[in-house]
Symmetry: C2
Subunit: 398 residues, 2 copies
């Protein structure tokens, strides 16, 4: 049918095994997956389908469109979906009666979930979304290899940025060049996010005070955007000399993202801005040591808050004033807002194989955003960076 | 705060007025809007917020982030959101007790809607999503002017395509060039879709048999895509001579999209492919005449099915075999899957000002997809094309 690389069969088997262990432990009869990313993760195909994974035994992927493509790509049994109304009966016949069914209640639209509820009128619906996200947060060697490829492409592209940058070019011109290079390397141009209303194109590329424009986006940097209908990221503003140029971008390989931030400048940055940058790097060094398996997610955030405070920069950390973001990092994978979340209230523990983008940044109104971000994997010996780009500020002579 | 164009105040006032008429007619006390696109449409800002619009009186936008930006952009009263748990009480205090509240149950995640339900424990929740989409389907002169600007940029870019196209370039190279040009003109690179799991980057650009690769996407063309994690649209396949090159792309201005398809070829197309193209154009001519206010949406689809049948092309119309799409066109605006839907079962009537992308296409396995798409506005005298690109096949000499 086609020659695109398939997800290895062993990946799918291991993932289903981990999910089934969870289901058995929590006495859930099975899950009905509907979200495209979860379907891809647990079956190997992103065709329009529903997948029932029982707590024991073989899953079935019920496909609406395209059945032939799903048959080629999936590593689970494929059946045509048929009439949705009969799905409850079809599943009972195959798996016996279902008392407790897990659904992705964090993303399933209310009307859809309500419809499913009628299909399984005798079953209790439970939200398994955190469990699914938790399973997905621990990456395999296969997944890490995709993220590493993405990190290399990102780095290759950044080495060209210094030859493009000039005073008077717009933020949008810079973004368009980066996107163009990424796209030629197979970027899918879909920066998937799980959160309701969350959306992103490429990342946050903005210069000087424009980068500090507050936005709806739950992140440390904002950006003016090109219209009120896309109020974040790059704008038509021209890049000036001697101001921080924030290049926070994500490249995607086989669905997997790397997230990275570097700073460029045409000319020189002021001493306070440079000092804040060194504080951001010091925070990275500290949490790299701290980030061992068994450490609570929130502890890394607490460390960063403390270091920002010691440096007298609390007011500018991860945004300014009422628009401060309340986290230090986020999991990345097929979605940009995966687990873990390095924020207050998350007492869950780091595990080997979790992949986290950590992004200490400082926002100075009128002056801009300065900071750094690497994507890390948690290893037995702390955090190992998957980002390969040197951390020095990219300086272009005026 | 910034110099981006704002949505005119009169737009917001008219939109709220139309929604309030609906609420009064259906005895709904008010709606709580949460989705970013609906928020933008009814307030003028896309900040992170909830908007309560009562059936009579003034709406309030409760903003989480960024309050200052929302205050600058919105044409309704802005209040900081405060504690979500208190929102029910805050609203009752201001608007009196709420018995029936409208929500966007087609897009609101189940867990979120469930949380709102607790806030308004004495109120009945009703789904107003179709009504919201219906109001949004009728465009104002302001909205039409944005779509016309987008159509002009799309056309300007297409005139360059013939100088780029060459045998051996990949589909992805072509897409990257188009995206680059669009981006410099302010495209936001977010092709918003309302449907669960629906996503798109630029459109469907594919060549020859690759364009006929079936996908999950609910549309007439498929495409291989660059990976199984993005199984649609352009791929790394090289463009060959004498095959149809499908260029189905959307440009976005101030959030508003135009959707258009044209065909290019390097060399010549075969007679059967050219004949199918003329059938597609004949379908457009016929429905342009038919598409008057008061005509049922489904009638235009029925016309196209009949004409495809007369031409002996039913099996190839809007996809092939089990993967045929069951519609002729879709509304476009801030989302790519707006109302109206030209499909069986939609007996609703066309209204003046509705904007519809109509896309008769034929899919020939191994050979490719051929067809055409214009974006139209419904006028008192039938459909008027907002697309300005000549319909002739773009021929490049071998």
């Amino acid at each position: 049918m086609h020659t695109l690389p398939l997800v290895p069969r062993s990946e799918i088997e291991q993932r289903i095994h981990r999910l089934q262990s969870y289901l058995q432990e929590h006495q859930i009869d099975g899950v009905l997956l509907a979200q495209n990313v979860d379907l891809y993760y647990f079956t190997g195909t992103m065709q329009n389908a529903l997948c029932y994974i029982p707590s024991a035994g073989e899953p079935v992927l019920y496909v609406k469109k395209s059945v032939v493509r799903a048959e080629f790509e999936a590593h689970v049994e494929v059946q045509p979906l048929g009439r949705m109304r009969e799905l409850g009966a079809v599943l009972s016949e195959r798996y016996g009666s279902i008392h407790k069914i897990g659904l992705e209640l964090d993303v399933l639209p209310y009307a859809t979930a309500h419809f499913y509820q009628k299909l399984f009128s005798e079953a209790e619906m439970v939200d398994v979304s955190f469990a699914l996200r938790h399973i997905r947060s621990v990456k395999s060697a296969y997944e890490l290899s995709q993220i590493k490829k993405a990190a290399q492409i990102l780095d290759d592209t950044l080495t060209k940025v210094s030859s493009w940058l000039r005073v008077g070019m717009t933020e949008l011109e810079l973004v368009a060049r980066i996107e163009y290079e990424f796209r030629l390397q197979g970027n899918i141009n879909l920066w998937r996010m799980r959160g309701f209303n969350s959306e992103l194109a490429l990342g946050m590329v903005a210069s000087g005070g424009t980068a500090s424009t507050p936005t709806y986006f739950d992140g440390p940097a904002g950006g003016l955007g090109v219209s009120t209908a896309s109020p974040q990221g790059a704008s038509f503003r021209e890049i000036k000399a001697n101001e921080p140029i924030l290049i926070d971008v994500s490249m995607i390989v086989e669905g997997y993202m790397v997230d990275q931030t570097r700073i460029a400048v045409i000319g020189e940055l002021s001493a306070p801005i440079l000092e804040a940058y060194e504080v951001a790097r010091a925070i990275l060094r500290k949490v790299e040591e701290q980030g061992n398996p068994g450490v609570a997610w929130q502890d890394l955030y607490a460390t960063s808050l403390e270091m920002a405070k010691e440096a007298g920069l609390s007011d500018y950390f991860m945004g300014y004033g009422a628009d401060q973001a309340k986290f230090l990092g986020h999991g990345v994978g097929i979605e940009l807002d995966e687990l873990p979340i390095l924020a207050k209230g998350f007492s869950q523990l780091l595990e080997e194989g979790m992949v986290i983008a950590i992004e200490p940044k400082f926002t100075f109104p009128e002056q801009g955003v300065i900071g750094i971000e690497n994507t890390y994997v948690v290893t037995a010996n702390g955090l190992e960076s998957l980002s390969v780009t040197p951390e020095e500020i990219m300086k272009i002579e005026l």
